[in-house]
């Protein structure tokens, strides 16, 4: 039986879709069978980031409304040998086309066939959010080092803690700019982790290559040498239970790792 992980944030545009695509890719690179599920109905874009847009035939709403069977709607990523699939969101329907029970049933079905189901959640705390968390057993909250994003992350963590079927959520701090953080112009990793008091599962640098790669439909995690790619691969390894030290984003600052180590909560 697979594990279903929802990637959520509260605030929009902090990197949920990017994170979903890259964690999925990195897990597939580790040989796991992965299904990505885009629940951002009406605003789908996980397919674009994965470069799979032109292969879509059916979508999530078609599956829910039984116009097709689940396997028919899954788009296979040919770069991976039968390991990585995407269930795209519908572009035309609105998010009320699907309810939580239907979502849960669908995810439970996918769990039979895949090691990991990575669920990309829409921004906000409405029906779309409820659908995305309905079938999940784990959650990753993505934030950026900005006060407003951290505030929304806090709100989402509060909601996730009420979901009895979901384990205590883990935190990713995305789009870190080491020099700003070092100068105190950005909230630092320790500050954010202390404030939210949940386990940190990874930090990802802000890197232009991430945007470039997404625009080419080739997630950055495919690139073995990029700093953000390594971050996503590390996160995947931590999900698999490995204990991987936190990336040092700046050479001159060896303190970060020792300070942060204690926040790791890898299972």
């Amino acid at each position: 039986m697979g594990e279903a992980i929802v990637i959520t944030s509260g605030k929009g545009g902090v990197g949920k879709t990017t994170t979903s695509a890259n964690i999925g890719t990195a897990l597939a690179l580790q040989g796991k069978r992965v299904c990505l599920v885009d629940t951002d109905i009406g605003l789908r874009n996980l397919d674009v980031v994965m470069g799979l847009e032109n292969r879509i035939i059916y979508d999530l709403v078609d599956v829910i409304e039984e116009r097709c069977k689940v396997p028919q709607a899954l788009v296979k990523d040919k770069r991976f040998d039968d390991l990585l699939y995407l269930l795209p969101a519908a572009q035309t329907s609105d998010k009320n086309a699907v309810n939580s029970e239907q979502m849960k049933k669908l995810i439970d079905e996918l769990k039979q066939d895949y090691d990991y189901i990575i669920i990309d959640c829409p921004a906000g705390i409405e029906q779309g959010y409820r659908n995305a968390v309905a079938g999940a057993t784990k959650a990753i909250v993505v934030t950026t080092p900005e006060v407003s994003a951290v505030r929304d992350a806090d709100r989402i963590i509060g909601l996730l803690e009420k979901e009895e079927h979901i384990e205590s959520p883990k935190l990713i701090i995305n789009r870190i700019r080491p020099h700003l953080m070092k100068n105190g112009d950005m909230l630092d990793v320790e500050e954010i982790t202390n404030h939210l008091s949940i386990d940190l599962i990874g930090i990802v640098a802000d890197d232009d290559q991430v945007i470039k790669a997404s625009n080419h439909g080739e997630p950055i995690a495919m690139n073995p040498n990029n700093v953000a790619s390594i971050a996503y691969r590390n996160i995947a390894r931590r999900i698999l239970g490995e204990s991987v030290p936190l990336q040092q984003l700046e050479e001159e600052n060896p303190g970060v790792f020792t300070k942060i180590k204690k926040f790791f909560g890898v299972k």
């Binding site: 505030r151 929304d152 806090d154 709100r155 404030h195 008091s197």
Partner: protein, 225 residues
């Protein structure tokens, strides 16, 4: 002829005290009370006289209590100061207990969450920005207060708020309110602080240690040590 009195009236320097018998029927009691009051209110004085009512071991429902008060008020210069009874209902006792209880809760109150307790609150955790804690009594926060805390929500102006790290967005005590200064300097100060309403009716923040002087009632220890 020497019938037992159901209503005894005593004059004190503060007014009148009415002792109501707790064995006779309520109807009998009302009748006799009315009679006695009519007899004794013939005095020509028009100074207001305050009346204390003792009902002994009789429990008066709210409606009955109101009826008795009304009966007394109808006599032109009497005002009811208080109605006291030796007994309360289980519900009232339960509420009294809750109102005087310290509830300890180990949790982080996150953005969008509200925690409310009837008595005192001991929070083992933080209140994050956007989060709110409310208490009928005092609030003691072992972690950081970064959101809103409202003590004495039912009007208790004596209530206090204290926190290990006092960085609230807003503090409220009873119906007074204060918000964080716009410039949040003062980093590095790492001392437990408290907030209370001072003599000028303003919320003041001070070192925790001042509480023992300005709110001695916070000590619940009997007998000393």
């Amino acid at each position: 002829m020497n019938r037992k009195q159901n209503v005894t009236i005593k004059g004190t320097k503060d007014g009148l005290t009415l002792h109501l018998d707790d064995v006779c029927s309520y109807e009998e009691l009302k009748k006799e009370l009315n009679q006695k009051l009519t007899e004794s209110s013939r005095s020509s004085e028009d100074r207001l006289i305050s009346v204390m009512v003792h009902t002994g071991n009789r429990y008066l429902s709210e409606a009955q209590e109101e009826e008795i008060k009304e009966l007394i008020r109808q006599k032109k210069n009497l005002v009811v100061e208080s109605v006291r009874s030796n007994v309360i209902t289980k519900n009232e006792a339960e509420k009294l207990k809750q109102d005087n209880e310290i509830l300890s809760i180990a949790r982080i109150i996150r953005s969008g969450q509200v925690l409310e307790v009837p008595g005192d609150l001991l929070l083992i955790g933080d209140v994050n920005p956007g989060g709110t804690v409310k208490a009928g009594g005092n609030i003691f926060i072992m972690g950081a207060l970064k959101g809103i805390a409202h003590a004495g929500i039912n009007g208790n102006k004596e209530a206090v708020i204290s926190a290990s790290v006092m960085k609230p967005t807003q503090l409220r005590i009873s119906d007074s309110l204060t918000r964080a200064p716009d410039d949040n300097v003062e980093e590095g100060k790492r001392e437990m602080e408290c907030a209370y309403i001072d003599e000028d009716n303003q919320i003041t923040i001070d070192r925790l240690q001042v509480l023992m002087h300005i709110r001695p009632n916070l000590s619940k220890l009997q007998g000393g040590f």
